[in-house]
Assembly symmetry: C2
Homo-oligomer: 171 residues x 2
């Protein structure tokens, strides 16, 4: 296998195949985020990476809470819209028709159309390069009874995908 | 859509569909990790989450460097093996037959069989719940000329997958 050295590291980061793509609500705004991961199982912590120039960054700093809403591929256009427009200029709930649902433990609304809603309270903020990672403790989880993770959306390197086929189960 | 409240938050974290699954080398050991993400583009930073009870945790604390090796689905059995066995007990290079390749900027070896190798130096360690996140600055990237991210492995919730089909491109 012949390999070549890459000078443009930022471009090289696109070699990762894909990450889950979620809708994060904070205050009354929605952002589309693929910079999201589980940070701990016990306690259950989820982190989201947000650039300081995003409108939601100021909201997260102010309100210290967010909801991770896992969308389905049927919502792809709304997901894409929320990733390409700023809440400074528009009300994304109104613009997309996504429906608010009262959250259980935080004041930010959940998105009713999304089959999984994980409510988080920010317990730590980490500055790493060009992103702030907000680490949230999970306070409430609501999941659709017919939740099907095969319908989720993945994203990275400019490509939206669905999860691929299962090739093995962990022993 | 009828939703139910989840009491077991750790189990609820399995609702995320999948994350990239990589082989991380540090010192002479290999660990399989799905707790990996890009933390920043400029500077290019990659973070890996490692439980303190893992052998690699002590190696990362000591050597402060690692290589993220992106495997292909052809390596699935070796990837699975490296996730289920500890480097305390065995030499995983010998046990799997994976081949070492000298790295460019760090002393930990790269894995020759993997089409992408991202060498990182730890610049920050973050304690979050039951994992330590080691944030590494990317120092070198080597990628196979015929690299194909469709061949990558994804993992979460006990399931290994391949990336699913592309359903849209970012405008």
């Amino acid at each position: 296998m012949e390999k070549r050295l890459f000078d443009d590291f930022s471009r090289a980061l696109r070699f990762f195949p894909c990450f889950p793509c979620v809708l994060v609500t904070t205050d009354e705004n929605i952002i589309t985020i693929a910079m999201v991961h589980i940070f701990s199982f016990s306690p259950p912590l989820i982190g989201i990476g947000v650039s300081p120039d995003r409108y939601s960054h100021s909201l997260l700093k102010k309100f210290k809470e967010f909801v991770v809403n896992i969308p389905t591929k049927e919502l792809l256009e709304k997901v894409s819209f929320c990733g390409e427009n700023s809440g400074r200029d528009i009300d994304k709930f109104k613009a997309t028709g996504l429906e608010k649902e009262k959250s259980m433990k935080v004041s930010a609304p959940s998105i009713k159309d999304c089959p999984a809603n994980l409510e988080c309270k920010v317990i730590k903020e980490i500055e790493t390069g060009d992103h702030t990672w907000f680490i949230g403790k999970v306070l409430s989880v609501r999941v659709a009874k017919d939740y099907n993770k095969e319908e989720a959306i993945l994203y990275w390197g400019g490509l939206y995908r669905i999860p691929g086929k299962v090739i093995a189960r962990r022993h």
